[in-house]
Symmetry: C2
Subunit: 520 residues, 2 copies
Amino acid sequence: MILKWNGWGYEGEGISPERVKKMMDILSGFLGISEKDYFEPVNLNYFKLPEPKINLENLNLNFSTERYERVLHSSGRSYKNLVRLKRGNIKTFPDAVVYPRSKEDIIRLLEFCDINNIACIPFGGGTSVVGGVDTYEIEKPVITIDMKKMADVVSADMKSKTARVMAGIRGPELEDKLRRFGLASRHYPQSFYFSTLGGWIAARSAGHFSSRYGKIEDMVQSIEVITPKGIISNHDFPSTACGPDIPRIFTGSEGIFGIITEATIICHLPPEKKLSTSFVFPSFEQAAECSRYIVQKGIFPPLMRILDEREYMLSSILSGGKIDSGSLFIVGFEADQENQDVVESEFQFVRKICERFGGKDEGKKKFEDWKKEYFEQPYLRDVLMDFCVIVDTLETATSWSNLMNLYTKVKESMEKAIFSESIGGVSCRITHIYESGASLYFTFFAKGKHGYEEEFWWKIKKAASDAISENGGTISHHHGVGRDHKIWAKKELKESLTLIKSIKNSLDPKNIMNPGNLVD
Amino acid sequence: MILKWNGWGYEGEGISPERVKKMMDILSGFLGISEKDYFEPVNLNYFKLPEPKINLENLNLNFSTERYERVLHSSGRSYKNLVRLKRGNIKTFPDAVVYPRSKEDIIRLLEFCDINNIACIPFGGGTSVVGGVDTYEIEKPVITIDMKKMADVVSADMKSKTARVMAGIRGPELEDKLRRFGLASRHYPQSFYFSTLGGWIAARSAGHFSSRYGKIEDMVQSIEVITPKGIISNHDFPSTACGPDIPRIFTGSEGIFGIITEATIICHLPPEKKLSTSFVFPSFEQAAECSRYIVQKGIFPPLMRILDEREYMLSSILSGGKIDSGSLFIVGFEADQENQDVVESEFQFVRKICERFGGKDEGKKKFEDWKKEYFEQPYLRDVLMDFCVIVDTLETATSWSNLMNLYTKVKESMEKAIFSESIGGVSCRITHIYESGASLYFTFFAKGKHGYEEEFWWKIKKAASDAISENGGTISHHHGVGRDHKIWAKKELKESLTLIKSIKNSLDPKNIMNPGNLVD
C-alpha cells in the first residue's frame, strides 16, 4: 500500500464518494461553500526538487532520492503541511530518504551525518500534526530516516505480558503480531493505522483507552535509542529505583536526542467482550463533572469521551440522524469470561453516577455512530481542504478546577479569530480523563479563501494556543511540540528548556538530530 | 520528639521490654545468642568530632554545629550506618547542619557552597538504608541540609484532588494536613513516620498501596528543584506532551542534581472502609502465580503482600501464634459507601482466583498480626544489633518469568554467604505487584561477632547484590542506589550513567550536591 503524499492514509482509501457528497451537502449549508470553492491540488510533478546535496552511494544503505519519496517525506500531516502540499507551496525536501534495515545501518548513518553536518529526521508514520518531521527551514542537507523496515516484534514474554518491539512498527502490524502471543497493547491513537511505536514514544502519544491503560509513556518499560554519541538503553524491570527514569527522558524527546529503535512495552490480555454505552447530559459541564466523580472514586472505564454540545450536534448530523442536543458521554469497558462480574459492577456504578448527574442512557447506537465517524475525520479534513475550508484540531489538558475556564477561553478566542473574517465553528471533546484533570480536544473549521489559507489557519491556531498558554493549559497533551508549538513550549518549559538543551548537547553536540524541532 | 541518633525512630519509642524479651527468647533459640553477645552501644560523647571547617555566621541561616545534630546527620539508617554508630566507628560528620526555612535560604546556601566548594547533602527523614545521606569519605567540607522546617501543605485543589506540598513534610504530618482538605495520599512506605516527601521522590519510594496507586513517581505531577545553577520547575498538568517528563528526571535523582523543595502530588479520597483478608497457599510460587493472574486480569487490590514459607513461619512465631507453614498472601481493598459494590466484586474475584490456585482463606487475623509485626521490624533490628546479630533487608524487582529464578538464586547466594561462617536465615516477601513483574524484599539475619559485624554484613550484602545483578534483577526497586549500591548500579545503568552524569554536570558543575552518591 502506498501512502498518499498529500493527504491522510493510503492511496485509494478514504470516504466513499456517496458519503463525501452527503457530508458536503450538510457542511456546504453551514459554511456556504460551493463548487467554485474547489481547487484541484497540484500534482506530484508540480514541485521543483533541487538536486540532492548528499551522496550515500558508498554507505551500503537502503535509500531513495525519488520524487514521490522526497515529497512524501518533506513534512507530516498537519493542516499546514497538507495545505502546502495541495497548493504546491513547498520548497525544501529531504536530500534522501533512508530506510535502515538494522541498528548497524543507523549507527553508520549517524556517524556519516555527524561528520558531514547533515540533519537527520526520524520518521515513523509521518502523521505528526505539529511539524515534528518537517524539513522546512533546515539549512543543512537533510536525510529523513524512515523506520518502516525495522518493524518486528523481537520477542514476547507471555508470562510477564511484555513484548520487545522495533520502533518502526505501525499499529495494525503491532496488534497482529502481538495477538500471535496472546497479547494486546490497547494503544489506539486516532493515527493508529499509520503511526509507529517510535513515533508514539517520541510524541508521548495517547490512545482511546489511555484513561485506563495510560499513555504510551506509562507502557514503556525499557527503551533503546541510538544517538550520535552512542546507544542508550535501560534494563527491563517492572519498576526500579536505580537512578532517574531513563525511558521518560526519551518519551517526548521528538527525535532531537536520537532515534528510538526498540522498546519493551507492557501488554495486556486481549479483551473478549466489550460493554459500552452512551449517556446524554444536559450540558458539557455536567458530563465532565460526572466523569470526574467516577474516576475520583477509583473507577476507570478504558474508554471515556465527552462531546460538547456543538460536537455532539455535528456528529449526529454527520451520522445522518436527527439533530441531537446536549452533551454525549461515551463509555466503554472491556472484559473476559472471568472478570466480567467485576466489569459489570463497574458498569453499573458508572450508570448509577451518570444518572445521578443528569445523564440519560442512550445505548450503544450513539457509541457506534461516533466510532465510525471518528476514524473518518482525518479523511473528511482532506475533502474539506480541497474546498479551501480551514479545518484542524488541537488539544490541551488541565486540572479539573480549571477545565471549564480553559474550555471557554480557548473556544471564545478561536471563535473570535474565525468570525473576525469568516464563518465557521469550534467544537470540543474530552478525550482523556485523569483523577486530577482532563484533556480537551478542539476541532475548528472556517470558510477560507484560496491563497489565504495558511495565514488564516495560523491566525486561529495562534489565538487558540495563546489562550491555552495564558489560561493554564499545556500546549499539548498528546501531539507534542514539534515546530508549530515551539513559541508556547518555550513559555511552558521555562528553565526546563535549558535542561532539555543540555541533554541534547551531551547526546547530539552538533545538533544534527531533527534540528529546529521541540527546541531552538 | 527527638530522633534517636543511633537507632530507628524517636527517643523513648520502640518495642516494649516484654515484647523484646519474648522475641529474644524466640530468636536466641534460632541463633544461639545469649547475654554474652550483648554489647552496649557507645554513647554520644564517645565520638571525636573535628572542629567545623565552615563558618555560616553571616549567612542568616538557621543552623547547628551541636554534637547531637552532627552525629545524627552523619549518615542514614542502613545496617552499616547503625553498626558504625553503635560501635563508635564514625570519623566524618557534617561540619554544620542547616535547617532552611525558605527557598531563599536554600538559594543563598547553595551559592555559598558553590563558591566555596562545600558539599551539600539534602536530608529528609534520614531513613536511607543505602547510604544516601552518608558523610563518609567526602573530602570537601560538608553541610547537611535538613528540610524539616519546610514541611507544609502550600495549597490543595479539592476539585482536582491534588496538593502542592513542601518537600520536608513527613508522612503523618502530610496525611494530617491533607485530611483537612478531604484528601489522602495513600503513600505508606515502611519509613512513613520519619521519611519525607522529598526523600520519597529522591529515592523513588514505594508504599503499601503502590500496587494500585503507584510509586511516588506516579503521584508527582509537578516538581520544584533548586540546583546550583538555578531553580527548575514544571507546570502542573494531569499529563502533557510538551517535551520529556521533567519530574521523572528528578525522581530517583537522590540529591545529586539539587534539592527538591516542592511537589504537586495526586491525591485520593480517604477510604471509608477496608476489606482485607489473607490466604495461605501451599507454596510461595503458587501464591505468586495467583497474584500475577489477578493483576493481569486488570484487578489491582491496593494491598498485596506475599510472604514466602520462611517469612510466614517467622512472622507467625513472632506474633506468638502457632508455627504456620505455607505461604501467606495478604490482600486489602479500600472502599466507600458508593463504590463498595465494585470493590466487593473485586474482592470476590480475588477470592475465586485464590481458591482456584490452591489458597485457603484465613481471614483478617493473619492480616492484623502481620501489620502489627511489620512496623516493629526496624525496631527489632536495633535490638538484635545490640546482640551482634547481622540483620538487614534488601529488595529488587524483576519480570514474572524471572521471578522464581531470581528468588532462588539470591536466597541461595545469601545463605551460602551466611552459612560459610555462621548460622542465620533468609526470608522473602513480594511487596509490589505489577502486570509485568513483582518486587522481592529479602530479610536476612546471621549470628555475628563483635568487631566482625560490618565486614560480615557486607559479605552477605555483596553476595545478594551480585546474585541480583547477575540474574536479571534491578539493584533496587524502591530504596535507591545511594553509596552502597553504586558498583551494581554502574553495571545496570551502563551508558545511561553517562547521561545522568551529563545532566548532573549541567546542573551542578562543581559536584557539590551529595557528591559520591548514585554516581562517582
